[in-house]
Amino acid sequence: MLWRLPYHFGRYLMMLWQAFSVPENYRMYWKETVRQMYDIGIGSLVIVALISIFIGAVSGLQFIYQLDGQLIPMYYIGYIVRDLAIIELSPTFTNLVLAGKVGSNMTSEIGGMRQKEHIDAMEIMGLNTAAYLVLPRTVAALVVIPMLVAVSAILAILGGYAATVLPGELSHTDYVRGLLTFYNPYNVRMMFIKSYVFAFIMTTVSCYQGYYVKSGSVNLGKASTQAVVYSNILILLADYLLVVLLTSD
């Protein structure tokens, strides 16, 4: 499989080159972008919210367990949950989940259009199909996913609060003190940078898998799986590179 990597990468770049060109009709592209924003944003809100609350809750409880009996002050729980959510868990987890939900859906939708000759029909009409199918989805993802990540970070912090303060494991004052301690706005910027990069990877990789799918339902299923697997691998790889890049002095 690895020897095919340059071929796929080249074709992926060519698709992007085609996709990021001047739209034939801004109104139609905008309409499609809004539809995608709704699908990605509203359609994913519940799952992102649920995951975020549990991530925050589990992180809070785990660290209470870890720090119990240590010399580290307990208000650090709020600080750890906040930074974990903002820097790492919310951007990465949200995008990994969205790769499974939104990414595979994009691959199936575009792949289905390819197999049912919808894309050919659009080509014959004179449409730049790569642009019409990829650009609105990418723009929608770049607008909506950072918002989802921000919501996720807030909910994770609230989840941590609910799991630690409400059962009485930690006082309200300690948790809030932790949240306000060592706050660095740069971390929020880092969260948004990660969100944009991950959203771009997830969307374009999924669109690529759908756009070039071969005929047959087996291939469509395979393409959807590959979209999720490759998006996840690339998101984790990008996460590592971004951390190296953004945290180096």
Binding site: E24, N25, R27, M28, K116, E117, H118, D120, A121, E123, I124, M125, G126, L127, N128
Partner: protein
């Protein structure tokens, strides 16, 4: 008029088309026929630019279609309408939205003008009043007719149809054939139909090309078929013993 000059197409080690030179005339129903695997669909896709030929040239009147850059290709495609085998209607759109799509994308028209044009095209294909239906809510034959309505909405000079009658009963097939013939006459289009439906061949074939193993095996009008001594043509058109018998009784050949 659409013309091909020595078209070759190779996939891997398999040469699917071996030097196809054909002329498809304006204002006529031009049919490409042949057995499955003869290269009909590949030829049709080369004609509309969905597949590039390995060698050879496609001419649209005096324009070298195979040499066009992407921008010019898109411009000429505004003059092309195509009906796909599976109709290729967009599932998420209503019939009206499907037909309106090319106008929405490329034409500066008021919503009223667009609706008028959609209704006219639906009237041409005999499907008035189904504007709000989704493709999944109408029959296969109706889907084909909506596909034709979408293909002619921009009033194209060239109309391509890939197996327009596949999966349809003989009566509906006749309706589709008649429709394609009428549109060809009405708009003076260069209509190219890829089919292996014998009713279409005998009914509307004004310029027929028989492909066999990637080559043109016969070319002519449907009234030349009965008395042609081309064995490939005869064995293809009158494949069943019933038709052979019928031909013998009717024409004595």
């Amino acid at each position: 008029m659409v013309r091909t000059e020595d078209i070759h197409k190779t996939f891997g080690d398999t040469e699917v088309l071996k030097g196809i030179s054909l002329t498809f005339e304006k204002g006529k129903t031009n049919l490409i026929i042949g057995r499955s695997g003869a290269g009909k669909t590949v030829l049709l896709k080369i004609l509309v630019g969905l597949i590039a030929p390995t060698s050879g040239t496609v001419w649209y009147d005096d324009i070298n279609f195979t040499q066009l850059d992407k921008k010019s290709l898109r411009e000429i495609r505004m003059n092309i309408g195509m009906l796909f085998q599976g109709s290729a209607l967009f599932d998420s759109m209503t019939v009206e939205e499907n037909i309106r799509f090319p106008m929405d994308m490329f034409k500066k028209m008021t919503p009223g003008e667009k609706l008028k044009r959609v209704n006219y095209c639906l009237e041409v294909v005999g499907l008035e009043g189904i504007n709000d239906k989704y493709p999944s809510e109408i029959s296969g034959g109706m889907q084909k007719r909506v596909g034709i309505a979408r293909a002619i909405v921009l009033d194209p000079e060239y109309l391509f149809c890939d197996e327009p009658n596949s999966g349809l009963d003989p009566k509906t097939s006749l309706v589709i054939d008649e429709l394609l013939l009428n549109i060809t006459r009405l708009n003076n289009t260069t209509t190219i139909i890829n089919t292996h439906d014998m009713n279409s061949v005998m009914g509307i074939g004004e310029n027929i090309a028989l492909l066999h193993q990637g080559r043109v095996a016969w070319q002519g009008h449907n009234n030349e078929i009965i008395h042609s001594d081309n064995e490939l043509l005869q064995s293809f058109i009158f494949a069943s013993p019933f038709l052979k018998e019928l031909k013998k009784k009717a024409y004595g050949v």
